[in-house]
Symmetry: C2
Subunit: 499 residues, 2 copies
């Protein structure tokens, strides 16, 4: 109990509830949710761009990590850990291979009282240190596919405004790195990981996503293809939710990852890398929460059900006993349940607090419920209230948790569906995004300059080219013209403003 108090209270004397509006003041509202639901604090002076992830926030990351880690392991991935520093010469070598690679990093120049001979970068991503080891570990076709992953933090020294989980100089993520005997196997790997990211969003975080490729000029440096899942935020901007890169043989060539094939010839491997960061938590918080506070789907919620007993002095014993029985039964059934039996707080205070903290389902138990053998059930997202039988409460609870998940997913899906619009001209793209936000689908010739004409004016860019669309168009002749330059279109582009 006491830890929970410390976590959710913003301190006596401060306004406890959310004061900003999600609709009208999304940025400030988001910052307020993060602080007041006890998810994160800003780092101290001198460390702008960093955050302190509090237990309530970290628990969300632990659950997402658990979900994905199990999927990774079921599909042949094993975790490893590589040094957090990368010698400058390694990054320089990557620059030579990989055009456009110039990460802004934190540089370690001194160890103890000595200046280092060579500066060390705090890893911004680990291709340049992991790939040489993969090259060392791969000898023959029997060593393939080789898959390693690490859950770690990385640092990118970007001088932008801090937004917890969305934009921080240090962030938590996982980075997977694999080597394969041929392009097909590596492409299948790329898609497996993208599928897993999609399911993390859709089946775990209750956020529908769109999936596709990044345009050529926006790929991960050195990649043959960068694939992405994109999630639409309530303010009409998209979040790049996770990326999976088919790297072709570029890294294998640079780092000499070869293997002896069945026919004994030495061949280059095809490699992939893929990553998802705690930005997914930003998307989670942003998508479902409301002006009362945090809203979480039951899948990821650390506490799924809070049981609040409501008693007068003369009914206290029977109400508490009944409430404890309910909580115990749920716990035995594997539901993450909390009994809030604090007698220093009244029920109204408790309701507000658990709403702020995003507990998906509240049980209210007073003398009437005890008398009638019932439980009053309230859903966090919409306040829907119903009375259910005490008997079979564990199974009933599962249904309610599923229902809450379905409500959240449906709301997000409805929002997304309404926010994909079509446009056939540059002005229409500009106007539509300018007025509504969201995604604008437009036929595109594939030339970066056509994107630039939109980007320069309203900072919207091509965030994704859907797989299906592209596959359909390839090799078929059709008479769509690029919405910007009117040359023949070769694919459909999704324009949006981006986090």
């Amino acid at each position: 109990m006491s830890d929970d108090d410390a976590d959710s209270a913003a301190g006596e004397g401060q306004e406890l509830g959310i004061t900003k509006s999600k609709q009208y003041d999304t940025g400030e509202w988001y910052a307020e949710i993060v602080q007041k639901a006890g998810l994160a604090n800003y780092a101290p002076d001198g460390m702008s761009g960093f955050i302190v992830t509090r237990p309530r926030g970290y628990a969300l990351w632990e659950r997402l990590k658990g979900y994905l880690d199990a999927k990774f392991k079921d599909t042949g991935v094993r975790n490893a850990y590589f040094p957090m520093f990368i010698p400058e010469s390694y990054l320089e070598a990557e620059k030579d291979i990989v055009e456009g690679f110039d990460p802004e990093v934190a540089w370690v120049t001194h160890g103890g009282h000595e200046e280092l001979d060579e500066r060390l970068a705090v890893r911004p991503t680990s291709e340049s240190i992991i790939t040489p080891y993969i090259a060392q570990w791969v000898r023959s076709h029997r060593d393939l596919p080789l898959r390693v992953n690490q859950w770690c933090s990385v640092v990118r020294w970007e001088a932008t405004e801090t937004k917890p989980f969305f934009r921080t100089k240090e962030f938590l993520w996982q980075e997977g790195h694999t080597a394969h005997a041929d392009a097909d196997d590596a492409w299948a790997e790329t898609m497996t990981r993208l599928d897993q990211y999609e399911s993390a969003y859709e089946e775990f975080l209750a956020i529908p996503v769109l999936r596709g490729r990044k345009p050529e000029h926006d790929k991960f440096p050195g990649a043959d293809t960068t694939t992405t899942v994109e999630a639409l935020m309530p303010d009409g901007k998209t979040v790049q939710g996770g990326t999976s890169h088919y790297l072709g043989t570029s890294f294998a060539e640079a780092f000499d990852i070869t293997f002896s094939a069945d026919d004994e010839a030495d061949r280059l491997t095809h490699t992939t890398s893929w990553g998802i960061s705690w930005r997914a938590l930003g998307a989670l918080i942003m998508t479902h929460s409301d002006d009362q506070g945090l809203v979480l789907p039951p899948t990821v919620a650390p506490t799924q059900v809070v049981v609040v007993p409501i008693w007068q002095e003369d009914t206290k014993d029977e109400v508490l006993e009944y409430a404890e029985g309910v909580a115990d039964e749920l716990e035995d059934a594997g539901v993450r349940v909390e009994l809030d039996d604090r007698d220093t707080r009244n029920p109204g205070f408790k309701f507000n607090e658990h709403e702020l903290d995003g507990v998906p389902v509240r049980f209210e138990i007073g003398p009437y419920e005890v008398e009638d053998g019932e439980v009053t059930v309230v859903h966090r997202p919409d306040g829907a209230e119903s009375t259910v039988d005490r008997e079979g409460i564990a199974a009933t609870t599962r249904d309610h948790l599923d229902e809450v998940f379905a409500k959240l997913y449906a709301a997000a899906e409805e929002n997304l569906e309404g926010e994909v619009r079509e446009a056939d001209s540059r002005d229409e793209i500009l106007g539509t995004i300018g007025r509504h936000g969201g995604y604008v689908k437009a036929p595109w010739c594939g030339d970066e300059r056509c994107e630039a004409e939109v980007k320069d004016q309203i900072a919207a860019e091509i965030v994704m080219v859907p797989f299906e669309e592209e596959d359909e168009r390839r090799g078929t002749d059709h008479d769509d013209a690029c919405a910007v330059c009117a040359e023949p279109a070769t694919r459909t582009a999704y324009f949006a403003k981006s986090y």
Copy 2:
């Protein structure tokens, strides 16, 4: 399969087996085990002191982490994540509070192309950044106890020879930080964590430990009391296996962690911190392994049982089918089992490889086993072989896994018991440790100078003062004299050489 090949093979053409002797060349033998069992590699040039932790090595850390994390959570601890950098002024502030605090750290001086206004230390430990937040989160007695923990990596720039897991500039660990209303509660916390470290060693890693306090002059800077579990290595040196610190009110005073008590007065909290690192893996590898390779207790082993089918062409189908049935039954029963049905390797090669990799139990299944409805079971530590009924194999396997654990623990315990010796004079301490290594128990006056006389000569120091001994001696009068200075002894000291 293929990942496993990649992991355990040191590459074609290299000697696959262990060539060094545990008894005569412990250091080189240890390094060989780590490399050839695929646990870790050394980091590249320019990064001496760092290692790459490979999947087989990281899996051990994941399992130990899982074991302890569950215990922590069962006892009120919640995980969080704090920035990996700490501003220099924070460490300087800690220096003022905490005499003797002068960590050798890695310094970040540049972010991107800019020099930072203030240098940032890569965290060597996080008291100085975590404590101010605890101060902010603790308001009233209802917020106590407050417990946070993080699993992360830390960096200490010590210029010593690298020994994977034992001595590396970057290492993985957990650091727990708690605040309490009074000394008793904080002391109980300190002991709870020490108990959990002890059980991690004894019940999970099969390593008996000794427990006690560090001498005053060897405490964690700022601590009231530093407690430790110590494990004896086969070369007669001790490993500080995990430490739990009762910090008194020193950090609370420095960082102003106060709370309003029941009586509304503001009071200082009492704090603790406690940590265990991947050094525990070093102790694990060092303790049980032998000249054939890695040896692991079944508790921590990623693969507990390997099933090796042995067939001729005419018996292949029936042997494989039988072996698969056995493996499936074990898997259904929750045993971590691997069926090694590669037909590119002969059984002898497989036996050697799984011995090198430390799989605790091997099943051999050939045509005779199939005919007789049996399985041949071989224990990794001592090669003990027996034949058991196919029927009830899952339960039988549990017994064998327990037996292997018991064998390993008993061997380590026997070693430890033989390596605690007594001494009554400085010369006897020096001679005994010089000849035998191990621990020497001696009465001690408590003066650091008496330790220095031993330390200066043979680099052995007081690693621990047992709780019981000290409690017994306190307040009782006895006629033991300090083994070094002959003044009255106030406690028993354990001298040893240390990792």
